[in-house]
């Protein structure tokens, strides 16, 4: 990945000197996921001569904050907004209003209610339901056709109010239910923090430790902080000498989670491509502003990272 590589070429192809100003609003700012999305957006910005303002709420539960940010930026004279809504319904009327006022809005990462092409220009994201299903099939594949420990799978969920993780978790559950031999043993919401996920995971995992064996076939955690907390919990069990034969599939990646892949605690990570989302999101806005047609829907897809296909960091 070399964001700068494409820039000179693009500048040559795009001699129009007038800078386009675009604002991008992620759902959260702290996780590395969003850092990657920002990097993609900035790569596109450099490439297409865009002034980019990147502003988001603290975390994905701060819907009201995001509405404030959106409306603020919408009123600040930018030519387009790239948005990842914290909530698919809550942001909808605001986006519609902006669109009606002639401000193009492109949606990325998380869905928004409304008609693509009318209420907003396009949608670039991972299909969360499908991604959840991918996680389930990946886990099923890892467990194999003769599941141990009754095929029981533990699911550590994110918080109650988050739509994308809910879709993911639903996709996972549905696909898992369709897999013979596997069942969900228990699932719990957490408070959205890594420590909260770790505490819940530790305690629930403890329920399945018998004779120094973890009697689970699989573990799934549905986003970065949740997977990180769960990783710590599973790793602690292993370090303690508990025999863990359960397969652990996480979602998203981070330095810690990649480390987990390397040391074998995590078997697979279903990873979105936020960098691509950010890049394509900005690109589609630029295209729209410059009068080129844009795809209504782009699935940036997921990749399944395993130890085998991931280089050590």
């Amino acid at each position: 990945k070399s964001p700068e590589a494409a820039a000179p070429a693009a500048a040559g192809a795009n001699p129009a000197p007038a800078k386009i100003s675009i604002a991008a609003i992620p759902k959260a700012t702290t996780h590395s996921y969003w850092k990657a999305a920002e990097a993609g957006a900035r790569r596109a910005a450099a490439e297409f001569n865009v002034t980019l303002e990147w502003q988001g709420p603290l975390d994905d539960s701060k819907v009201a904050d995001q509405i404030g940010i959106f409306n603020n930026l919408a009123a600040s004279g930018v030519q387009g907004i790239l948005l990842s809504p914290c909530d698919d319904k809550a942001l909808a009327p605001h986006v519609r209003t902006a669109t009606k006022r002639g401000l193009p809005v492109a949606i990325f990462d998380s869905p928004l209610d409304g008609k693509v092409g009318t209420d907003f220009i396009n949608f670039t994201s991972t299909d969360n339901k499908a991604a959840g299903a991918t996680a389930a099939t990946t886990l099923a594949g890892l467990i194999g056709t003769a599941p141990i420990h009754g095929g029981q799978v533990l699911v550590i969920r994110f918080t109650e109010g988050s739509a994308s993780t809910r879709l993911r978790e639903e996709g996972f559950s549905t696909a898992l239910a369709a897999t013979p031999g596997l069942t969900i043993a228990a699932q719990q919401f957490t408070d959205g923090s890594m420590a909260g996920a770790q505490r819940v995971a530790e305690t629930l995992l403890g329920n399945y430790v018998k004779n120094n064996k973890l009697e689970l076939a699989g573990v799934f955690a549905s986003n970065q902080p949740t997977a990180e907390g769960t990783y710590n919990a599973v790793k602690a069990l292993r370090d303690k000498g508990v025999e863990v034969s359960a397969k652990f599939v996480g979602f998203d990646d981070s330095t810690l989670l990649i480390q987990g892949l390397q040391n074998g605690v995590i078997d697979a990570l279903v990873v979105q491509d936020p960098e691509k989302m950010g890049y394509l999101g900005i690109k589609s806005l630029v295209d729209h502003i410059q009068g080129r047609p844009v795809e209504a829907y782009t699935d940036t897809g997921v990749t399944v990272k395993t130890k085998a296909n991931t280089a050590a960091k």
């Binding site: 819907v63 509405i67 409306n71 009123a75 600040s76 004279g77 909530d87 009327p93 209003t97």
Partner: protein, 352 residues
Amino acid sequence: MSQPPSPAPAPASAASKKSSRVVAMLGRLAALAAVYAFFAFLTPGTKGFMSDANTQLMLQDIAVVAMAAIGMTIVIIAGGIDLSAGSTIALSMITTAYVLNLGPDGAKLVLQHPVLLPIAAIAAAIGVSTLIGFINGALVTWLRIVPFIITLGTMQMARGFAKLVANEQNIYPPAEVQDLWISRVLDPARTVFTWPFLPVAVWLVIGAAILTTLFLRYTRLGRHIFALGSNEKTAVLCGVPVARTKILVYMIGGLFSGLAGVLFFARLGSIGQPTEAIGYELFVIAAAVIGGASLLGGRGTILGTMIGALIITILRNGGVKMGWPQYTQEIVMGAVIIVAVAIDNLRNPRKS
């Protein structure tokens, strides 16, 4: 034995007292103006901090905080505190969404009763919130535990109930709800219901602020609330129904949190979000205290609280508009809370 009074020695005159109160309020207004001018100066032109659109946005933003802050001010004047406000807002929001979502999938009741059901929803939301307030008041009164602890407990409980009612997820009432009047109170696009410049919700807040100001000043209950906060023992001695007043005070607090929850519901585009408004109570309390309310009771004005809420909202809005990172916004917000109260205190050292 009716000697004439000897020459009045007390120099701390009533007139100077009253004027010092006016000065304090002017000081708060000056602080508000300063904060506003700061951002207006730093984000000129296109970014348009002062543009109509942005002003309207800020006013919508303020509506939720200000509505809850009215109730909180009354609780604080009475010498209490309500940490459950944020959770109560969430519970109210969820209740509204829940009622609007009643009925089997195909035939939501709200579609059959587009005017009535929202009224029922609001009534239910406010009822539940007022009930939380009642529980707060009753426990504070009967268990004689400091309100900090009682409302810390009910804060947890109300949050739990919000999640329970919401079935641990967001509640999305049918899309048509977004076109109902209940959703329009905060919708910036629906100018139908807004007199130029001010959204309906802001008018609601202004109305509530005026009513509560009059209530505090001109009703017996209002005077009792000040007496209670100023000196509870004196209130008992003078036959003020202290238990009843206290319970009513927390009920009023719950009621306004409930109203704030309904506004929040509309602000979020008509959805119920059980994990929203976490920690809101702290901003609400900060608004009241910046506005001159004393956490020791007996002191506070609705006008001051409104100024406090405006200062906080302008800070949040202006910080975003300036493109400040979150951390800068948080650092500035923290500093402003302390500085605002400190300046207020300098003028009135007896306060805390």
